[in-house]
């Protein structure tokens, strides 16, 4: 954490202009949500919106750090980067398409929706990712 941590040293007119424009758009979005939703929908929207930030910052990020650190510590030096890459790619893909893989929305009367066995697809994709990682580790060892 070097200069990355420091906020820009000076907040100029550009910041204040974008602040005004940006918060006008935020206010419009909030008004749009408020005026198109009933009380139950509003509460649910607020919960998912704020919850998204909290779940990421308080659960997903620390968990990723814990898993990443644990795996890195146990990985041999030569394999560490490749294992890290494979872990990130397979983890992100799994999380991203989880609702499709688990078929949460499957419709009994509509076989054209979710026609693929996405769970099998995910396993194949993850297997290919780890095979590539293994190949790159072997290549690094042979050098």
């Amino acid at each position: 954490m070097s200069d990355a941590g420091a906020p820009t040293s000076r907040y100029g007119p550009l910041f204040w202009a974008s602040f005004a424009v940006g918060w006008a758009a935020i206010a419009f979005g909030a008004w749009s949500a408020w005026s198109h939703m009933g009380p139950a929908a509003r509460a649910s929207f607020a919960l998912f919106f704020v919850g998204a930030a909290i779940v990421h910052d308080a659960v997903v990020a620390p968990l990723s750090i814990a898993v990443g650190t644990a795996v890195a510590r146990r990985s041999p030096r030569l394999a560490r980067a490749a294992i890290g890459s494979a872990l990130i790619v397979s983890g992100v893909i799994t999380v991203a398409m989880w609702p499709v893989v688990r078929r949460y929305g499957a419709l009994a009367d509509n076989p054209s929706f979710l026609p693929n066995a996405a769970g099998v697809g995910l396993l194949v994709v993850v297997a290919i990712v780890w095979a590539l990682a293994a190949a790159s580790i072997l290549r690094a060892r042979s050098r």
Binding site: G22, A24, I88, V92, D109
Partner: protein
């Protein structure tokens, strides 16, 4: 300034993540953050504009008329919207991961502007994660919430893009400096900062993120980009799978129209501001001049599939009924008219376009009931939800 002094003194104890050097991975660095920020700025702008276009088509204000040409416009914009959203998932997670240590930055509040900048991060982070999560959940038809997805996704898009504008205003200088920092010395310093423990370097990290984006795109984009349909193993749709080789969004059974649609006494009525109201049987419709049009079904969910449709051009039907030129038309389904998308408005160039059909056939055979038998609307450059199926009434207004 006294407020600033007060803010400055707020300082949590230097333990855990607040410790100096608590985050020792080299990827927590401004240049990596800058490149990911630029990528996300582009991808979120693309999603916002394509999403806004889709919103305008579905809720047109008086100043907006959806063009009929090019016929593939909505197919491309909505395909890009969903594909870009999916591609943004690794970018967003990576960006949040790179800047995560800022969450514990010391002092937490430097001055009033710094406070405002940080407060604006809640709508940015919450909105970004919300948009991508709700987007993927909705294309998977999983709705674990109590709001209407389109209203919430639209509102969240404005909140997020607003917060993004604030963020860009605060960071554009630092981003430009980080990216354009010239010279070999800087490059060497950049490399030297990478740890020598065999872990991911910054470059390796960016390649990894790009790889995740590439894999996600390759395994999903085939739901709209047909040459890659065989790779689309993680997509909710395959554009070749469904009755008559076309995917279905809503089945006749789930719409509750099976009996009405298969009733041999079916008639289409054309009414409203017309000289001659019409009531037409299927045979009457088949006896009218038939037109063929190659048009895509382009779903808001980001999949699309092309087919050849055959039926009566809407403009021919309106001419037969003596409707005034330039009329706006409401096409109504056999569905309960309180059901969402049970009717659709056709206006402007789409009414007069020769390819706007009330189709009786697709791919050379009568429509499957799940594609809208006996009659469906199919027009150029329209979202699938506005291509009304099981049409029973055309109201000229």
């Amino acid at each position: 300034m006294r407020i600033d002094d007060g803010l400055h003194r707020l300082r949590p104890p230097a333990v855990g993540p607040f410790r100096e050097g608590a985050f020792d991975s080299p990827v927590h660095e401004i240049r990596t953050a800058a490149w990911l920020g630029v990528a996300l700025g582009v991808s979120f702008s693309v999603c916002f504009l394509t999403g806004l276009f889709s919103h305008l088509i579905q809720h047109p204000p008086v100043w907006f008329a959806n063009p009929a040409r090019p016929v593939w416009l909505y197919r491309v914009t909505q395909g890009v919207h969903v594909a870009t959203g999916i591609a943004s998932i690794p970018l967003l997670l990576a960006k949040l991961w790179v800047v995560y240590p800022h969450f514990f930055t010391m002092p937490p509040m430097r001055n009033v502007a710094h406070v405002l900048e940080r407060v604006s991060l809640l709508p940015l982070v919450g909105g970004s994660v919300f948009l991508l999560f709700s987007g993927v959940a909705s294309i998977a038809k999983w709705f674990p919430w109590r709001f209407s997805f389109p209203s919430a996704h639209y509102a969240a898009a404005w909140i997020t893009i607003g917060a993004l504008v604030v963020h860009v205003g605060a960071k554009i200088g630092a981003t430009r400096r980080a990216i354009t920092r010239p010279g070999r010395e800087a490059e060497d310093a950049y490399r030297a900062a990478d740890r020598d423990d065999g872990g991911l370097t910054r470059r390796g990290f960016l390649w990894t993120v790009g790889g995740a984006t590439g894999v996600l795109t390759l395994t999903t984009v085939g739901q709209t980009f047909r040459p890659l349909s065989r790779l689309a193993v993680l997509a909710p749709r395959d554009p070749t799978v469904g009755p008559q080789g076309l995917p279905v969004n809503k089945t006749a059974r789930s719409a509750g129209v099976v009996d009405a649609a298969t009733d041999p006494g079916y008639r289409l009525s054309v009414e409203g501001r017309v000289a001659t109201p019409l009531s037409l049987s299927l045979d009457d419709l088949r006896a009218m001049p038939q037109r063929d049009a190659g048009l895509p079904i382009a779903c808001v969910d980001g999949w699309s599939a092309s087919a050849w449709w055959r039926g009566v051009a809407l403009r021919d039907l309106l001419a037969a009924a003596g409707a005034p030129v330039g009329s706006t038309v409401t096409v109504m389904s056999l569905q309960d008219q309180d059901a969402p998308y049970s009717s659709a408005v056709v206006e402007g160039a789409q009414v007069t376009d020769p390819d706007t059909l009330l189709a009786l056939e697709v791919s050379g055979a009568p429509l499957d009931i799940d594609h809208g038998f006996p009659l469906r609307l199919i027009g150029p450059n329209r979202p699938g939800v506005l291509q009304t199926k099981w049409v029973q009434k055309v109201v000229v207004g």
